[in-house]
């Protein structure tokens, strides 16, 4: 009886010790991240974007599709910070509303790509007979260069925000699934997974609690870059006329408008592109920072 009590006690203190170690690792990770200069700069930029998008109705001086025939093609002034377009619409207001479209599409693509990539990547590495089928299919999809597949898909499905999201998800999932598969394969070979099988843990518990929890880091880094690329890709789709249709204030739509006015009104195309570049730069800085902190081998190389 007494021996049993003692065993229970050590067990308890061991559990507490593991919990403490976990907490320590987590705060250590956050502290390293907070000390990483480029990650911080990126995070501040992203936070600014989220704020601008969230408070667009308050920040924008005019409506995004508000037409003013008395201020057509006005250069940047005190009232129209970024000038106006051919309908006298305020570019600054359109850009501010446009950040909503970009962030929304980027975020949804990150979530859908993350979920699909995790399912496909895990299934490929965990279920032997699925591996060849899934990976060959993904390899095939990756043979379409860049965003060309997204352009063709969006063209077939028709121009709309939801179709842009579908097209971008199909385009970015293969690489993401590959990364998940690679890191799951590494974790799968670890002894503690064998131990979990040995003590009779179910497949669901092993996959979610042990494998995915430990294979998450490369996925997070990848999704940061997917976010960045989605924002550029959305602009490309809109620019080519297969994104959210005009007069929606998508940043790509505004640049497409500006393409027809390069002779007389440079401001229409310049400002929205600048905003995209800053947002993408912020996300790239965050992604680099996360990779530095997560992957010590890369850190040893020193910086980016």
């Amino acid at each position: 009886m007494a021996a049993n009590d003692a065993a229970a006690e050590t067990d308890l203190s061991l559990g507490a010790e593991i919990a403490r170690a976990r907490r320590r690792r987590r705060t250590d990770f956050l502290r390293r991240l907070a000390a990483h200069r480029s990650f911080l700069i990126g995070a501040v930029i992203l936070a600014l974007f989220v704020l601008v998008a969230a408070f667009a109705p308050l920040l924008a001086p005019y409506g995004p599709t508000e037409i003013n025939y008395r201020a057509i093609l006005s250069p940047p002034t005190a009232t129209n910070w970024f000038g106006t377009d051919g309908y006298g619409r305020d570019i600054a207001s359109r850009v501010i509303w446009g950040t909503r479209v970009s962030l929304r599409i980027g975020l949804v693509v990150v979530v859908t790509t993350g979920i699909l990539g995790t399912i496909l990547g895990t299934a490929a590495s965990y279920v032997d007979w699925l591996d060849g089928l899934i990976m060959r299919t993904l390899d095939g999809l990756m043979a379409f260069p860049g965003v060309l597949l997204a352009i063709a898909l969006a063209a077939a499905l028709g121009p709309s925000e939801i179709n842009a999201i579908i097209a971008l998800t199909v385009t970015f999932t293969p690489r993401t699934a590959r990364i998940v598969r690679a890191s799951v394969l590494v974790v799968q070979g670890m002894q503690y997974i064998e131990a979990a099988h040995a003590v009779g843990a179910g497949h669901a518990r092993i996959i979610f609690r042990y494998i995915l929890a430990n294979a998450l880091s490369p996925l997070i880094v990848q999704l940061t870059f997917v976010f960045a690329v989605s924002i550029i890709a959305e602009a490309i789709l809109s620019f080519l006329g297969v994104g959210p249709p005009p007069p929606a204030p998508s940043l790509g739509n505004i640049i497409a408008d500006g393409r027809s006015y390069i002779q007389e009104a440079w401001w229409i195309a310049v400002f929205p592109g600048l905003v995209i570049a800053i947002a993408v730069l912020g996300l790239n800085l965050m992604g680099d920072g996360l990779r530095d902190v997560i992957d010590p081998r890369q850190r040893a190389v020193g910086g980016h």
């Binding site: 260069p145 063709a152 080519l240 310049v270």
Partner: protein
Amino acid sequence: MTRFLIGRLLSAIPTLFVVTLATFLILWLVPGDISAEIGGIDATPEDLAAIRERLGLDRPLYERALLWYGNLLQGDLGHSYLLNRSVADAVLERLPVTLSLAGLALVIATAIGVLLGILAAVRHNTWLDQGAMVAALIGLSIPDFWFGIVLIILFGVQLGWFPTGGFVPINEDPLGWARCMALPAFTLAITQMGVIARMTRSSMLDVIKQDYVRTARAKGMRRRTVMFRHALGNAMVPIVTVVGVITGVLLSGAVVIEMVFSLPGVGRLIVGAIQRRDYPIIQGGLLVTACVFVFVNIVVDILYGVFDPRVRDGR
């Protein structure tokens, strides 16, 4: 080496199968009645039936797939009724412009990127290193099609040094061709330059730490000789990988840049086809570009074998 080559070529077969199947299925994704979209509002039911028959839409999916593959094997990519000519002809005629644009950009991006990366690695942790890496990061954050518009505004409209768009064939006027291609190629190169510079730098930093580099320096070899002869050769494999990946980005980037600079390449053909709902052209353009990319990837893999004998011998 022969076995390595044959193995690599065979492994492209499943990839090409998925590529052709996905391209075929794109038409199936189009919602609603395609014939009504193509025919327009004043098409009679007989017109619509005729369009459906021409596109094979009146037949079941598997029959259409068999037809698609049967035609593909004979090099037939279908027929564009809106252009009234064969898709293969229309795409292949435009391909040289796209390929030369992507090729020029690849040369510019690789030359400047590798140089920048080596410089950053050799001068590790100096202002030069940091400056090069900041420039690289900014480069890869810029949407290239927008950068093209900015260059047109700056050098075309304001300064008038380059045409604002348009194209002159190289065999008619080489100088005019160069003037037309300069801005688009540089635009396309700028984002990928950063990717190559970053990869070259980290790959060089890995190699520089190796013992044999220190030995070479210790026995009195000049720094430059060590860097280019010993270090760069061994840093080449990751660099070649990246060059392979960015070729795909350049190919799809060229499609968009052609729209910005009004160059008559595959990209403008595809985008024009999207506006006209000319689906066979969209499919053909997509398929041919993907096949070019598959071919480039095979070449890259063979280059691995050249730079790293371990790959060749399957070790």
